[in-house]
């Protein structure tokens, strides 16, 4: 009997490490690399607050498709592109401050809904490989985005502000200075603690989104999504419109990503018209996975822990690389390496964990049978 108990404890410990392997790895990295980087704690805290404000909304946008069993939605770049098109128009019309922020959201929202709806239909045709498909979808729509922004804006679509149009007369410039709405949301409610600026309003928006997600999970639609995520066939037999539910999950995610991108860009203050959106999917997903999420399960806690751990790595790696290897370039490559490797490892671990979990389940059955056998 004792043997079984100690075995169970051992299993519990093993299970804890398996379930949290990725975040533990990153905590270990942070503990080792922070002293090597020579960065002050104040600097790191300030940096983390900025980055939490910048990325939270985007990372949280990933949660709903996970509930619906569609994995990590690389298609949030679609929402990001919609958001950027909204920002281009706002810059063209010279709207200022908070109205600009809301106007950009209003303009890009229909576009985000449309793109999300399309993506949802595409993913319904690629069940079982949603992630690869949403990833390629991002590239494809990026081509269409270039066609619109680089070739049609200023020629077919009228743009009057010469500040944002390329000198050749059409197409939008590579970098747009978002003077009109730089930090307009962040600084709406000004607050400074120890010289660290706190973007209160942005955090309020993030908090509202968190409440929305918690509430959403309890609604009929949220419950339907969970059912679809667990087993599509069972859900279909229970009368849930599976295809429609999946499309809605992607639409919500895309719209949230669109708002998230606008928040992200108002914080940064300049928009790289052709690059700002490209990395968003990868960074947000890497952050969420670092926070301990998996393809099948992701929580709000995972999002915040992940953003902090991932971005500590991001800030610290080049400096640590310089101290350790005498070269900042190594740290740069290390950063790229970790961002991609972490997704590979987290996905592979998820598959491995699935197998292990099945094994645990079998073992517990066996223990029950053994116990039953001895009592007889």
């Amino acid at each position: 009997m004792n043997n079984i108990k100690s075995q169970e404890n051992k299993n519990k410990v093993q299970r804890f490490f398996i379930n949290n392997a990725v975040p533990l790895l990153f905590i270990l990295f942070a503990v080792l690399a922070i002293p090597m980087s020579d960065l002050s704690v104040e600097y790191l805290i300030a940096e983390m607050i900025t980055r939490l404000a910048r990325y939270s909304f985007l990372v949280l946008a990933l949660l709903i498709p996970v509930i619906a069993g569609m994995g990590m939605n690389f298609g949030i770049v679609l929402g990001a592109m919609a958001g950027q098109i909204g920002l281009i128009f706002v810059m063209d019309w010279n709207v200022m401050g908070i109205p600009a922020f809301f106007l950009a959201i209003i303009i890009s929202m229909p576009l985000a809904i449309f793109l999300g709806w399309m993506a949802g239909i595409a993913l319904n045709h690629a069940k079982g490989r949603e992630m690869v498909t949403s990833y390629i979808l991002g590239f494809f729509i990026n081509g269409v985005y270039q066609l619109i922004v680089l070739y049609s804006m200023g020629s077919i679509i009228p743009i009057s502000n010469s500040q944002i149009v390329l000198p050749r007369g059409y197409g939008i410039r590579n970098a747009i200075d978002l003077v009109n709405l730089r930090k307009s949301v962040d600084r709406l409610i000004p607050l400074e603690i120890n010289g660290i600026e706190i973007p209160v309003m942005t955090f309020i928006l993030v908090a509202i989104l968190c409440v929305f997600i918690i509430w959403f999970r309890k609604t009929k639609l949220g419950q339907d999504m969970r059912a679809v995520g667990q087993n599509m066939e069972v859900a279909r037999n229970a009368g849930i419109p599976v295809e429609r539910t999946r499309i809605l999950a992607i639409v919500i995610s895309t719209v949230l990503a669109c708002i998230g991108q606008i928040i992200f860009l108002q914080n940064i203050g300049t928009m790289n018209t052709y690059n700002s959106h490209e990395q968003i999917g990868m960074f947000s997903i890497a952050a969420l996975l670092v926070g301990g999420a998996s393809v099948a399960k992701a929580s709000i806690k995972n999002a915040f822990v992940g953003i902090i751990l991932f971005h500590i790595m991001f800030v610290v790696a080049p400096r640590a690389g310089k101290t350790l290897m005498g070269e900042a370039q190594i740290g740069e490559y290390f950063r790229v390496f970790v961002s991609y490797a972490i997704i590979a490892i987290a996905l592979a671990l998820h598959a491995w964990r699935k197998n292990k979990e099945a094994e645990f389940a079998r073992r517990s059955l066996r223990v029950d049978a053994d116990a039953a056998g001895t009592s007889e």
Binding site: R129, F140, M325, F334, F337, Y340, A341, I343, A351, W352
Partner: protein
């Protein structure tokens, strides 16, 4: 007559037909917009030879049931190691090329084995993970290129900086060593890289022959129906690993052929996106996520590289704008998207029937 046309459309498939017609239109319009047709045809043939083996590298993994090889950069890295080592050893000419291949193959086998073992643990999610294996291995190798102890002055920075250069010229070593083998030059503009095309044909033949051996047949069986294959005594996991190793080795050989024609070895983030044109190529040739043939490789590479070569020269001359990059993005990713969303529809149609 109508029946025949219908049959042909069915056999060729709409995407190939549309792209093929588009390519034909480009060739026809070329002379009218002052693009030399002979130069264009030569360019298409050269690029066909450069990409052929890289596209061929997709076949074993698709046939073995591991899906599209988005992890092609891993094979490319093995090829780069071979190429860089042969330059370090100052090997030239066709011998230099062959030794680069000989050095690259063991690296390809080693990396392919690891990659194969990993993919066996993540059945069902191969493509997503392959994508990230490719990306992360390129980044990991970027760190290595900075630190590997290569000494040849042809490859390291002349002053300042450390490690290998981002692009290394092979002009002094084995530049065009295949292209200029039995080369045919007609007039001023037409040029046929016989050696490279022959080498590609040889590789196709080898792969074709492999799939007609006992192992090759077992691999196809393991790919198309793993349960059935297991029941008939095929070691499915072993077959999958062999297919991954083969794909990786072909990727290694392919990149060296590419470089001897291109003239440069591109290190660091160079191989990052190279899987996508290869994937798009084979899909355009009519392959699916589950089935690919040598014919798919040949047709697909020709059409895809044809489009990539012809659109910049022709379209740009017509509309006076360089839209080639955008067109490339839309066409190649559109094709991949089409393939990813198509197969499942066919499957569900079958279920209904």
């Amino acid at each position: 007559m109508m029946e025949k046309i219908k049959d042909f459309i069915e056999a060729a498939g709409w995407p190939r037909l549309i792209i093929g017609l588009f390519l034909l239109v480009l060739f026809i319009t070329a002379p009218f917009v002052e693009v030399n047709i002979f130069t264009s045809i030569s360019d298409v043939i050269v690029r066909f030879g450069m990409w052929g083996i890289l596209v061929l590298a997709m076949v074993p993994m698709v046939q073995g049931g591991c899906g599209l090889n988005f992890g092609l950069p891993l094979g490319i890295i093995a090829g780069l190691l071979g190429a860089v080592t042969s330059v370090e050893l100052q090997l030239t000419g066709i011998g230099g090329f062959l030794s680069a291949v000989a050095i690259a193959v063991p690296f390809g086998i080693g990396l392919g084995l690891l990659y194969g073992v990993l993919l066996n643990r993540v059945k069902g999610d191969e493509m997503t993970i392959a994508l990230y294996v490719g990306f992360s291995s390129v980044a990991a190798m970027s760190m290595a290129w900075l630190k590997l102890p290569y000494k040849s002055p042809d490859m390291i920075w002349a002053y300042g900086g450390s490690g290998l250069r981002t692009t290394i010229s092979v002009e002094k070593f084995w530049y065009h060593s295949l292209n200029d083998f039995w080369t045919i030059q007609i007039g001023e503009h037409f040029y046929f890289p016989t050696g490279m095309i022959l080498f590609f044909a040889l590789m196709c033949l080898l792969v074709w022959a492999f799939f007609h051996t006992k192992t090759g047949t077992a691999m196809t069986a393991a790919g198309s129906n793993p349960e059935y294959a297991r029941a008939s005594g095929v070691n499915v996991n072993k077959m999958r690993i062999i297919s991954v190793v083969l794909s990786t080795v072909l990727g290694a050989v392919g990149i060296i052929v590419y470089e001897q024609s291109f003239g440069f070895i591109q290190l660091y983030l160079g191989p990052f996106w190279m899987a996508f044109p290869a994937v798009a190529g084979i899909l355009l040739g009519g392959a699916s996520v589950h089935k690919a043939t040598i014919m798919n490789v040949i047709v697909g590479t020709f059409l895809f590289q044809g489009i990539l070569t012809m659109t910049p020269s022709v379209i740009n001359n017509i509309i006076q704008t360089d839209m080639s990059e955008t067109i490339r993005i839309i066409v190649s990713n559109g094709l991949i998207l089409y393939a990813l969303t198509r197969t499942i529809t066919i499957k569900s149609a079958k279920v209904k029937a």
